[in-house]
């Protein structure tokens, strides 16, 4: 037991050391500063994917995370631009707004199962895009542009986070922000899954009728899981808007929603850290294939199909089977 615990603490420490110290050091040594942007994207996409993973965990195929990412981005942008809020305040508000919206949307649609739920969520992304086009406050297809960089965050006169605009390297700042949130997000997810809530979610995934017969309030639990999932989507979207300093109706589309889902598949639906690994591999895999030109999509799709056939439980199942053999 304690040995297991020590291994866990050691691997968490190693992971933190890599993302907070080794990666920035390596990037500044090699001068590939654009890698910051790539890794920031991976961190943020993995947060949104973690949300999708949680809905998978209660037995729902969620292809609608793009809708909440878009919503979060717009909420943050509108609050900053129209109402002069600090970005730091809009971040949790965007998440909470998405969670609240997901409760309203989830109440009717979470009754659906399997492919029916998947289809509705797929449409949800498209509805979000059309809404962003149509509503006056979102400024239509022109989107919201020239959003200022996040300002300073101070508590009791103590500056915790400096004004991003005054920084020489705002890319590093965004990277640190994104990975910090990613670490928090996956910490929360790990705790969720390894507490009784995780077992309750599994009971939903495996048999809703039986779960309800042993007194589990399945409707409530589904809503909670979906709200947490959408919160992650909203937060990720809000930071994306801040980084690109703009948000358009096409910032998150159906393709993004599908990618969030693929990240989970690739990493492994049975593993909390699956979406993180999946996002990393998928994002870099796509970039690496860029040199193949017009064959990029063909090779990429082919590889995805092969991977799913060979490793239906995701990349992390490979590690698990190796550990079992050892």
């Amino acid at each position: 037991m304690t040995r297991n615990r020590n291994i866990k603490i050691a691997s968490v420490a190693a992971f933190l050391a890599i993302v907070f110290i080794a990666v920035p050091a390596a990037i500044s040594a090699s001068g590939h500063f654009d890698l910051y942007y790539t890794l920031t994207s991976v961190a943020l996409l993995s947060i949104a994917s973690a949300g999708v993973w949680l809905t998978f965990y209660i037995g729902r195929i969620n292809i609608g995370q793009g809708a909440y990412a878009l919503m979060g981005g717009y909420i943050s942008a509108i609050l900053v631009m129209n109402y002069g809020w600090s970005f730091w305040l809009t971040l949790p508000v965007a998440g909470l707004f998405c969670a609240a919206a997901s409760v309203l949307i989830g109440l009717p649609i979470l009754r659906l199962r399997g492919v029916y739920f998947a289809m509705v969520t797929l449409v949800l992304t498209e509805v979000a895009r059309l809404l962003a086009l149509a509503l006056p406050i979102t400024n239509g297809a022109k989107g919201i542009v020239s959003i200022p960089l996040p300002g300073a965050l101070s508590v009791f006169g103590l500056t915790i986070i400096p004004d991003f605009a005054t920084l020489q390297n705002s890319r590093l700042a965004f990277y640190l922000l994104a990975v910090t949130l990613m670490v928090i997000c996956f910490g929360v997810m790990y705790r969720l899954v390894n507490s009784r809530i995780g077992k309750l979610c599994q009971s939903l995934q495996q048999n809703e009728e039986l779960a309800s017969s042993i007194g589990v309030n399945i409707a409530y639990l589904r809503i909670i899981a979906y709200a947490v999932s959408s919160f992650f989507g909203g937060v990720a979207g809000a930071i994306f808007a801040a980084i690109s300093q703009s948000i358009y109706p096409s910032s998150f589309t159906v393709t993004d929603s599908v990618n969030f889902m693929l990240n989970c598949f690739l990493g492994g639906l049975g593993y909390v850290f699956g979406p993180m690994l999946g996002t990393l591999v998928l994002y870099f895999g796509w970039d690496l294939l860029f040199q193949t030109g017009q064959f990029q999509l063909l090779i990429y799709s082919g590889l995805m199909i092969v991977l799913m056939l060979v490793l239906p439980n995701g990349l992390l199942s490979l590690a698990a089977s190796i550990r079992k053999k050892a």
Partner: protein, 259 residues
């Protein structure tokens, strides 16, 4: 003996079809009451009405005087009416022990947030649930299989696991949906003995069943349905002598009703 569960004037219509028509009976404390009837008699519908998986068109179900019909299934379960399932309905990717531990959820004192934060109450719950689960597994003879993944269990043990899940919720009345279906003679006799042991431990049991010899052996009283109507009610010997019942099972009456 006090009445545990009271079904009064319950009717369920599906469009033009009357699946259950104005049925009334009651289950007394610490008895085994069986509901029998030919295929399509409305047994399964009645079962779902009692466990609140269906809402009655008219009529009601009362547990210890409190109306439970029309409530959501998880609320009915919290009140103490807990069902098992006909098919091998279990959490198939969890271990046998986890299946039973999770079924203790009803008894948990901690909130979801409490479980997330790992509060003292939540930890105490975990320990108590584990201990109780081990006890239940021992009672049903599943101890040696505790760490097996549930889907790998043989048929008879799956049924026992279904009952273990029901027991873990600490029900006032346990509803068993065809507990002997698909079992051979030996398995059936073992299950009969097990259900009787549960009754002797103080549980009230209502079961819906096809297997006549087993029903005759196990029941304190029997309710007979045909075409959605109650046609008879009484002790096994009364039912065996009942003209209407024999008529309903005409063709194979002797063997079918265990004579």
């Amino acid at each position: 003996m006090a009445e545990m569960l009271e079904v009064s004037g319950i009717t369920k219509r599906f469009g033009g079809l009357v699946a259950v028509n104005n049925i009334s009976f009651s289950v007394r404390e610490k008895e085994i009451l069986s509901v029998i009837g030919p295929n399509g008699a409305g047994k399964s519908t009645l079962f779902k009405l009692i466990s609140s998986f269906l809402k009655p068109t008219t009529g009601e179900v009362r547990l210890k005087g409190e109306r439970i019909s029309g409530m959501a299934p998880h609320i009915a379960a919290r009140k103490g009416v807990v069902r098992t399932f006909q098919e091998t309905t279990i959490f198939k990717n969890m271990s046998v022990r986890d299946n039973v531990v999770i079924a203790h959820h009803l008894r948990s004192k901690a909130s979801l947030l409490g479980f997330f934060l790992g509060t003292g109450v939540a930890k105490a719950d975990e320990v108590a649930f584990g201990a109780s689960a081990d006890e239940i597994l021992a009672l049903l003879g599943l101890s040696s299989l505790a760490n097996e993944t549930a889907r790998n269990l043989p048929h008879g043990h799956l049924r026992a696991l279904g009952i273990a899940i029901g027991l873990a919720t600490d029900p006032s009345i346990l509803l068993l949906d065809e507990p002997f279906a698909g079992m051979n003679h030996d398995e059936t006799m073992r299950m009969v003995a097990m259900v009787r042991r549960l009754r002797d431990l103080g549980l009230t049991i209502l079961l819906v069943e096809h297997d006549m010899p087993a029903v005759m052996k196990i029941s304190d009283r029997i309710v007979v349905l045909n075409f959605g109507q109650k046609i008879a009610e009484g002790t096994p010997s009364e039912i065996q002598a009942n003209e209407k019942v024999i008529e309903a099972y005409l063709g194979s009456e002797d063997e079918a009703i265990g004579l």
